[in-house]
Point group: C2
């Protein structure tokens, strides 16, 4: 499948590399074609990897991952272009973290709204699926690096889009537990959880962790 990865950071690169490994054709998009990190990734990732602008990446893709920083996500998606995103599934991995007020970060949108919803409202003809935003990049694509079962989540308005993402997460990335939380407003749940995740990172001394849901018999 032709997949676009928007963003050249750790999350983008990790997911892009995994998708290439799974046999997909992956184009990494950034603000300008020839971005240094994107070019370096293409050289490393081989013939199925390519790079270009956000618009280049989105235009040719059947599936798109938003791996840009939350604060830049709406602008990156605007640059990708409404027409290039229309009718497609957009996996939104971003979090609305605000680093401008010091550490730990707070949220620039939260409580009665979420970044996932902002993106869905801005691109109503795109099928936004919030996913993977509750875990570190290394865990996203290799859940088996943590012992036992643990959970990841999807939120979105389109059932088929969620089913497609769920299939990629389970069959592709190896997730055993993908919990469908409901429509895109449930992204408030996973985005808000980041406030706990960040403190747990501090206490555990590693971002290499996740949560398992423990339920009565």
């Amino acid at each position: 499948m032709k997949i676009a990865i928007l963003g050249t950071g750790m999350v983008g690169e990790t997911i892009a590399s995994k998708l290439v490994e799974l046999g997909h054709d992956v184009k990494m998009g950034s603000r300008t074609a020839g971005n240094e990190k994107a070019v370096a990734w293409v050289q490393k990732a081989g013939p199925r990897a390519s790079q270009g602008t956000f618009a280049d990446a989105a235009a040719s893709a059947e599936l798109i991952f938003n791996c840009t920083l939350g604060a830049g996500s709406l602008a990156a998606l605007e640059a990708a272009g409404k027409e290039n995103l229309k009718g497609k599934v957009l996996v939104d991995v971003s979090n609305p973290l605000d680093f401008s007020k010091g550490m730990p970060p707070s949220f620039f949108v939260s409580n009665t709204d979420s970044l996932g919803e902002q993106i869905q409202r801005a691109f109503p003809e795109t099928k936004v699926v919030k996913a993977l935003n509750t875990i570190n990049a290394s865990v996203m694509v290799e859940p088996s690096r943590l012992p036992g079962e643990h959970a990841t989540f999807v939120s979105g308005n389109d059932a088929d889009a969620k089913a497609q993402v769920k299939q990629l997460l389970t069959e592709g990335f190896g997730w055993k537990q993908v919990i469908d939380l409901g429509d895109i407003t449930t992204a408030r749940g996973t985005e808000s959880y980041l406030a706990l995740w960040i403190r747990l990172w501090g206490v555990l001394g590693t971002p290499d962790f996740n949560i398992q849901i423990v339920k009565k018999g």
Copy 2:
């Protein structure tokens, strides 16, 4: 130990009953002495149980649990009286849930502040420990009702106060994993998590669940 439970709801009653069972003298406080639910609880719970106003309960207590609804917590604690709370450990179980905008609830304070911090600021001479606010009442006092290990959290500025609460949670309530997240600002983490907890409740069809932290190695 003499313990005050502020609040006559499900959480207050469940914790109060458990504490009586553990051999403590428990006074349930509410807005007015003779509150119907408090009186019914005293009759059920036996000679170690008593009831009175918020101030009655706090005045005689060595340890205080805030089990009032979040929206009423500051007023309840004001009614309990600054002098009656001074120098004491206050376990804050409340969550800043706002039910006025429909279901699921949103938060009336979140992101760059928390209800735990609001309470600590309003009562600077009280040792506030945020605890147990991430789970259902039945799980709070009987963690073994869920299979395997799972985690609960404490947040607070006073190390001795947290140690005391941690001891009660482990030796009294049977918790195996009490994670100290840090100072009272980390209550933002556990309070924000409620946004995910509420959606998980919807999906799982029961509030009888919790999370376990799964970590590498």
